[in-house]
């Protein structure tokens, strides 16, 4: 049973990692007042780009970098439409969710033509393998048997917390999401910060997608983001727009997912789909329980127009 718990925890952390990137992407976007439900799509492009570049160069780190750049490129469409054209954010996020995966599927299809070989790219090594440690101790596995991207995820959580609560720039950034007009009168470049938020969001969502193909699974399949972008959206709300909260939410979802897989193995009387429902039902139940104290950025989802004075 001890090993069951240990493996459950390891699996939870493993499954939470891509969610952390995607949730942070959403957090940065919403903190600047932009609700971006398109990160599911951005992650799809990031995932494909990461896979292709990692395959071509043989370097997963370049894959992640390329995933970030691709994420930024796609999110700039969202940025231009929602910030400059004041398009409805939810609507445009939807558009990105339809456009980006179609593009990813198309590029994959065209690049690999009608070849029918399974293409596998190399994965990023873990710190444990880089250091050549052989121990299989639980703590060693938990803290050392992780790819550099996992450490990056947790470092980003800490940096984000510091940025939003301890720095002047972070407070300005938050002000854009709360009271953009007031922020503008204080001399804050509201439009600039909104674009910046889209760059950060695109990069993180692209990395989150690339994580799936450079650190998690060796193969790319269409639809491999599998709703993680939407779970991330829920994680931001669940985590009450704070980076610590987001981390807890991601670990919670990772845990639910890891648990349902193990429950399927133990129980064979209930149809397996009921276990697969666990992460989604848990999301609904948790959100229903915590209710909505208006903790989100106040101008979230609303277009900002300079002329609006």
């Amino acid at each position: 049973m001890g090993s069951f718990m240990a493996n459950l925890i390891l699996a939870s952390v493993r499954m939470a990692s891509p969610l952390i990137f995607l949730s942070l992407a959403e957090l940065y976007s919403q903190r600047a007042g932009l609700v971006n439900i398109g990160i599911e799509g951005i992650a799809a492009i990031g995932s494909l780009t990461g896979f292709l570049i990692s395959l071509i160069t043989g370097n997963p780190f370049l894959g992640v970098l390329a995933g970030a750049l691709a994420g930024i490129a796609v999110n700039m469409i969202f940025a231009y439409a929602t910030i400059s054209l004041c398009a409805e954010q939810i609507v445009y996020g939807m558009a990105i969710n339809i456009f980006a995966p179609a593009l990813a599927a198309f590029i994959y299809r065209v690049y690999f033509g009608s070849g029918s070989e399974l293409v596998q790219a190399g994965l990023m090594g873990t710190l444990k393998s880089m250091l050549g440690i052989k121990s299989n101790n639980f703590l060693v596995n938990l803290f050392l048997d992780q790819t550099p991207m996992v450490y990056l995820a947790y470092i980003l959580i800490i940096l984000t917390a510091i940025y939003f609560t301890r720095t002047k720039s972070g407070l300005n950034y938050k002000a854009v999401g709360e009271y953009p007009k007031a922020a503008a009168t204080l001399g804050i470049n509201v439009i600039g910060i909104k674009y910046l938020s889209c760059v950060i969001c695109g990069a993180l969502a692209g990395i989150g997608g690339a994580y799936l193909t450079t650190c998690y699974s060796k193969t790319y399949v269409d639809g491999n983001v599998a709703g993680r972008g939407f779970i991330a959206l829920a994680a931001v709300i669940f985590g009450r727009w704070s980076s610590a909260g987001v981390l807890i939410a991601c670990l919670f979802f990772g845990f639910c997912d890891a648990l349902q897989i193990r429950l399927q193995l133990v129980n064979n009387t209930l149809p397996y789909q009921f276990f697969q429902m666990i992460p989604y039902v848990a999301t609904i139940v948790v959100l229903a329980l915590i209710g909505a104290k208006k903790a989100g950025p106040k101008s979230s989802g609303q277009p900002y127009r300079k002329e609006e004075r």
């Binding site: 090993s3 069951f4 493996n7 699996a11 499954m15 490129a73 700039m76 469409i77 231009y80 439409a81 593009l103 599927a105 198309f106 590029i107 299809r109 065209v110 690049y111 690999f112 033509g113 009608s114 070849g115 029918s116 070989e117 399974l118 293409v119 596998q120 393998s129 052989k134 299989n136 048997d145 799936l212 998690y216 699974s217 060796k218 193969t219 399949v221 269409d222 639809g223 491999n224 599998a226 997912d257 890891a258 897989i261 193990r262 399927q264 193995l265 064979n268 397996y272 789909q273 697969q276």
Partner: protein, 344 residues
Amino acid sequence: MNRKLIAMVVTGAMIASMAPTFTAHADDTRTVAMICDSSISDGGWGMACYNAMIDAAEKTGWETMYSDSIAQSAYYDTIVSYCDLDVDMIYAPGNQYTDAVLQAAEEYPDIAFALLNGGADTPEKAVNGNVSSLLPNATQIGWIAGALAGLMSESGTIAFIGGMELDTTLAKYAGYGEAAAFVAEENGKTISVLDPVYSGDFSASDKGLEFAKAMMDQGADVFFGDASAVDSGARQAIDEANEANGAIKVYDIAQPADLLGQNDCVIGSQVTDNSVLIELSMKAVEEGTFGGETLYGTLQNGVLSAGELNKDVVPEDVQAKYAEYIQQMVDGTFMGGAAETEAE
């Protein structure tokens, strides 16, 4: 914004130019068209079915066409648009196409429809008698993998990962378990098979990875599966575990093509050569005898076989024993000549 998009598209187009050009088929030769809901490069089912068609076509000189990754709502439309192009045969690998095939077969009586893994009773449902079922024997498939699992398992626990709860999947699982238990007992071991798990699809390799990790935690040391890309995820997890242990201690038996060498953990493959069945169907079309029958694929007629074993991992005496069991299966004496249940 338009400019940005165009730039992206042009980039895509440049990538595209590396790909082979697509061509329409000429009219003077016979043509077979395959439809598939998964990708033909999934390293599993789609790939094996596509390659089988290519192999059969090479032998018979037919031309091939295919559409893959098609949505459920487009099965019928895709089949019909091939029918409108006057192809000679539609090749639909999977029983999920049964409804679409039967409907199209009714509307196009002159076209042959080969349904792989369809029901044994499907051909008689076709009013025009132009549908044949190609049915690899799922129990024998399970046996081929199970005998090797029974010989190789040291922990006494073996695992099976399924894609969907198809009856063929259940039959493979049953055959796998009974063969492993039988072989183990003959060699003084006991084997238990973990309950089957299902990913619910054939594409989520990350689910395969997590399943395999969880099942290894439960002591499983031989894996067999029926889930295409999901299996490749499982193999990745097994490779990682072996690497961490510094030795190949957990094994995977691949299917439906010989995948030896694709991953280190693959010790052997259960091979289903559907090209034999497709070739038979093509010949029948050429001779005008196609339709209304169920063609079974078995060890006896060469559709099923055991692939190469990994000689570095499987000891020589085990190789010999395994070959013996496979011979017994071919001779019909395996497990004391247990009645071969015809699984659908």
